[in-house]
């Protein structure tokens, strides 16, 4: 029988079988008690979700008025009618949102599971060690699971938990199961949290196994752009998100001294992770300083432009964000394709067990357009050998990579200005106008729209004349492609504990105006430059700017007057006036992790199995805001939803209406903003801060204004609130020509007012809003929602009340 934790007696027991599961010995190694919610189930944090959703009302924009998921359908749900199964439009939207989040979560989690097996197979179990400066080394894992992994193998427990939750969540989407929209959304929020966990596990596994930077503000600058790929060598592209096969290709090239014959470029997040390999110089089973030898060819939105630009000889695809027609595009240009994971096999024969020489021969001789090779080591070797050997063969075959001037002319002459292309172009490019200019010999219109084209290729499919419009873009931008050579900082991984200690107080008090996270893909409403513009606006203003994934890549394609990219203009620390690249899509977890670390390192909150407490702290005190400006994928939906459950608001671009659901507050409802003062349990109405959890902006200007606003928190002190209001008002004046209509809502005291606008604002408060002002003392006598109070301890969780009134 158990006597105390960690010991038991078996005296006087007969015929008893004892099964020992996990051995718990954390109590001695962790100064935090186990929190209330280790491994929360689907409904465990439902109360917290409802707190979020009661304040931030679920808003749906249905993309479809019908439901076609079962044989009763199609059911017309227009006007929130019910279908045959009883589900209404809101419920049907909630179900689709949950399914989308599950897709995203599973993509990351399956990536993590694959890496888990692969890393253990390749390297064996390894000590999980993030170095001396990152002691809170797995913040999401610890907050959700309540344990500290010690070795790579320990992550199995987290993955197994996640996988069980996902099965339960998927089951709830079956017809006849969940039907209420708010519970679908609670489950979506749970899915988002599972996604956070899956991403963190995935990134931590690869950081340790591949010896990637562990919070290095000075991670190396690496080459990015199509022009960086050396066309005198065979060019191998590694495309997707899972570094396993691409890393093996790099190791093969290194071990066989082939770098003078081959260049490796990554597309999408695989690119980031390849450039992070073995950069710390620690013990590793992978050759040292390998990462910077790879190049970032570009973000996923550049894929089809790269194919048309003829910059590659062989492509290895792994998983996630790979265009489904990659094989067809490659086959037309005799670019051999190697599918390296079972997630994307493209109809190709599985040659995993065939001899390497035979596979190489089949690909180099074009007997086969591609193969599936599910052993990363074998795939990597094949990729390198094929890229080198196929280059001269492709030259001999006289493959036309690029169109001629004559073909360009023929293409533009065929246009009848029917504008069918404009009806399908996501950023609404008036392609016929570009062609009209080209007919006159002016290619500038095509050039200026190159970065705005998202490379979807829908225009070509809709063109009744069969004009290859992406080829026209390529022709007009040939010189640009050659010169597309920039430098960006390699993914540095998490924020260091020391960095968090330095910025914790300024963030919570508001004197660092906020943490801005730019994440997401390449479906921008108005082109890639918006990434640079948004990032620069906030870095210049002293915000902590963190970024990851394709948005980080796309902002690297622009320079200042001195020719410096944003990475060359600013430091890479987790600090104000810095820009910090955490890494690939799964490295987004480090951004959420940083928010948790502010709560646990700076504020000394127990985070162990204490998710809602930490999320409550972040919601009320950590002025962070994410922006997924080019988000296209279900992963982005899941990431944003995970941020929301953790109390971090997110701004998305107008295309993101396709996600269907947002969380919006109502500033006009005082009862929605009642907040507990944890000091005594009294209720206090607070300003709408943050006003929304998931906000859709129409333009980058609107996005920037909203981001500044979503960094307000009830805990801001007067200096901090003044700084935040200054930026909010400045951005509005800069892009809107006037002060925002709601600035007064955030004023609690005269000290909150930005100095530059103070006099005018006081007059407006008196004349327009009826506040009483003591002009001699320059004091606000009455009017604000509440007084400024530095001791105010806002919370939405009753158990945080310290002394009841």
């Amino acid at each position: 029988m158990a006597t105390k934790e960690g010991s038991f007696s078996v005296e006087d027991m007969k015929n008893v079988q004892i099964n020992i599961g996990a051995v718990v010995k954390e109590a001695d190694e962790w100064d935090q008690e186990m929190g209330p919610f280790p491994k929360p189930g689907v409904a465990t944090l439902r109360d917290w979700d409802y707190k979020i959703m009661n304040r931030y009302k679920i808003m749906y924009a249905p993309a479809d008025d019908t439901c076609t998921l079962c044989t009763y359908g199609p059911c017309d749900l227009t006007g929130n009618k019910k279908g045959a199964c009883g589900i209404d439009q809101a419920g049907a939207c909630g179900k689709i949102v949950l399914i989308a989040c599950l897709m995203g979560c599973c993509a990351h989690a399956a990536h993590g599971r694959h890496l888990y097996h692969w890393c253990l197979d390749k390297f064996g179990d390894m000590k999980f060690d993030m170095g001396d400066e990152i002691l809170v080394d797995s913040p999401l894992y610890q907050t959700i699971i309540g344990k500290k992994p010690k070795t790579l193998k320990d992550f199995d427990e987290g993955l197994a938990y996640l996988e069980e939750e996902v099965v339960q969540l998927v089951a709830s989407t079956h017809t006849g199961q969940e039907g209420y929209f708010m519970d679908f959304e609670s489950k979506a929020l749970h899915t988002g949290m599972m996604d956070d966990l899956g991403m963190e596990i995935c990134d931590l596994l690869q950081i340790v196994a591949y010896d990637m930077p562990r919070g290095a503000a000075d991670a190396p600058l690496i080459e990015i752009g199509m022009g960086t790929l050396d066309q005198n060598k065979g060019v191998l592209i590694a495309y997707g998100h899972n570094l396993a096969a691409g890393a093996e290709a790099m190791i093969y090239a290194e071990n066989n001294n082939l770098w003078d014959k081959v260049d490796i470029g990554g597309v999408c997040c695989t690119a980031f992770d390849l450039t992070r390999i073995t950069e710390t110089g620690r013990d590793s089973k992978v050759p040292k300083n390998l990462g910077p030898k790879a190049k970032i060819a570009g973000a996923m939105g550049w894929w089809r432009k790269m194919v048309r630009a003829g910059v590659m000889d062989c492509v290895m695809v792994d998983e996630q964000c790979v265009y489904c027609d990659v094989l067809g595009d490659a086959q037309m240009r005799k670019i051999p394709v190697i599918a390296t994971t079972d997630k994307i096999m493209l109809g190709l024969p599985d040659r995993t067990n065939d001899p390497v020489d035979q596979i190489v021969e089949d690909l180099v001789s074009f007997k086969m357009p591609g193969v599936a090779v599910l052993d990363p080591t074998k795939a990597g070797e094949i990729g390198i050998r094929v890229a080198i050997a196929v280059k001269p063969k492709r030259a001999e075959a006289k493959i036309q990579n690029l169109i001629t001037a004559e073909q360009f002319k023929e293409g533009v002459e065929k246009c009848t200005t029917c504008n069918e292309c404009a009806f399908v172009c996501p950023p609404h490019i008036r392609i016929s106008d570009l062609i009209a200019e080209a007919k006159k010999g002016n290619l500038e219109a095509f050039s200026s729209m190159y970065e705005i084209c998202v490379g979807c290729g829908r225009c070509e499919q809709s063109c009744p004349q069969g004009i290859n419009i992406l080829d026209l873009f390529e022709y007009a931008n040939r010189q640009y492609v050659k010169n597309q050579k920039f430098r960006m900082r390699a993914g540095r991984g998490p924020a260091r504990d020391t960095e968090i200690r330095a910025v914790g107080m300024p963030i919570v008090m508001g004197t660092i105006p906020g943490v801005i996270a730019l994440v997401g893909c390449s479906n921008y409403p108005k082109g890639t430059k918006e990434c640079y513009d948004i990032a620069k606006e906030f870095v210049d203003r002293g915000y902590i700017v963190v970024t990851s994934g394709c948005m980080a890549m796309d902002m690297s394609l622009y320079t200042d007057a001195d020719g410096k990219t944003i990475w060359e203009q600013y430091g890479g620390g987790f600090d104000g006036r810095n820009i910090c690249n955490t890494g690939s899509c799964v490295a987004n977890a480090n951004i959420m992790g940083a928010a948790i670390k502010v709560a646990t390192i700076f504020a000394r909150r127990n985070h162990r199995a204490n998710f809602d407490d930490i999320a409550d702290y972040i919601l009320n005190k950590v002025g962070a805001c994410g922006i997924a400006w080019g988000a296209y994928s279900q992963k982005a939906a899941s990431i944003a939803t995970g941020c929301n459950r953790l109390g971090i608001p997110v701004v998305v671009q107008p295309h993101s209406v396709m996600y269907r659901r947002s969380f919006m507050g109502r500033a006009d409802k005082p009862e929605d903003w009642m907040t507990i003062d944890a000091r005594d349990g009294s209720l206090q109405q607070v300003e709408p801060a943050p006003e929304a959890m998931l906000y859709i902006a129409e333009t980058k200007e609107e996005a920037m204004l909203e981001m500044a606003k979503l960094c307000f928190r009830p805990s801001d002190n007067s200096i901090g609130r003044g700084i935040k209001l200054t930026h909010y008002c400045d951005i509005s004046m800069k892009y809107f020509g006037k002060l925002p209509d709601d600035w007064h809502l955030f004023v609690r005291d005269v000290k909150d007012l930005p100095l530059v606008y103070k006099e005018d604002m006081l007059k407006t408060l008196e004349e327009k809003y009826g506040w009483k002002i003591d002009w001699k003392a320059k004091k606000i006598l009455s009017g604000p929602l509440r007084p400024a109070d530095v001791s105010f301890d806002p919370t939405l969780i009753a158990r945080k009340i310290r002394t009841k009134k």
Binding site: L77, M658, A697, E702, F736
Partner: protein, 187 residues
């Protein structure tokens, strides 16, 4: 021709969503002639004109919107379009608000409106990024059917109640159609 001039611009042609795949279900917008649109807007008790940043691509539309504003219809300037009104010195009944929060408020019957006078009975969209406007119309179509959804944009908006057909590639006709709407409102 004289007969055509009398009849006005035909805004009922090309009822195809500007993003062709935006076909949500059985209930789809009908196209109307400008005069009918103008009469319906005039009849509304609490109309709200909602304009977006595409006005910057066709600045003359700011002047037309100001003309509507001067007829007493309040203007919700979404995205950063308010700058166009600031630059023209017209802020009389112009409110700066994002389309997303605005639609969020519009879906609740108890909202008091931008002027505190109560919920609107008709919204008139124009100059908004197509997919975004389409989605916000979808929100109202499904969750607050008390508000009439009118588009005077150059696109066919399938989730509106009343819309023009696609006029995206004929600016002159489109401008003339909007002028006819305004003229009908003045009658």
């Amino acid at each position: 021709m004289a007969a055509d001039v009398k009849k006005g611009i035909d805004t009922t042609k090309n009822p195809i969503p500007f993003e062709m795949a935006q076909v949500p279900g059985p209930e789809q917008a009908k196209c109307f002639m400008p005069k009918v649109m103008g009469a319906i807007i005039k009849k509304a008790k609490r109309p709200l004109l909602v304009v977006g940043a595409e006005l910057f691509d066709d600045p003359i539309m700011f002047d037309k919107m100001i003309e509507m504003g001067k007829m007493g219809i309040p203007i919700a300037a979404t995205a950063h379009s308010v700058k166009g009104f600031v630059d023209r010195g017209y802020m009389e009944n112009v409110y700066q608000i994002g389309l997303h929060p605005l639609t969020n408020y519009l879906r609740f019957p108890d909202w008091k409106g931008l002027d505190g006078q109560g919920q609107y009975d008709a919204v008139i969209f124009m100059g908004i990024f197509y997919k975004f406007a389409n989605a916000m119309f979808a929100t109202l179509k499904n969750f607050n059917r008390d508000i009439k959804r009118i588009s005077v944009d150059r696109y066919y908006h399938i989730n509106a109640n009343m819309t023009f057909g696609n006029m995206a590639f004929n600016a002159n006709d489109y401008h003339a159609a909007v002028d006819e709407v305004i003229a009908a409102m003045k009658k």
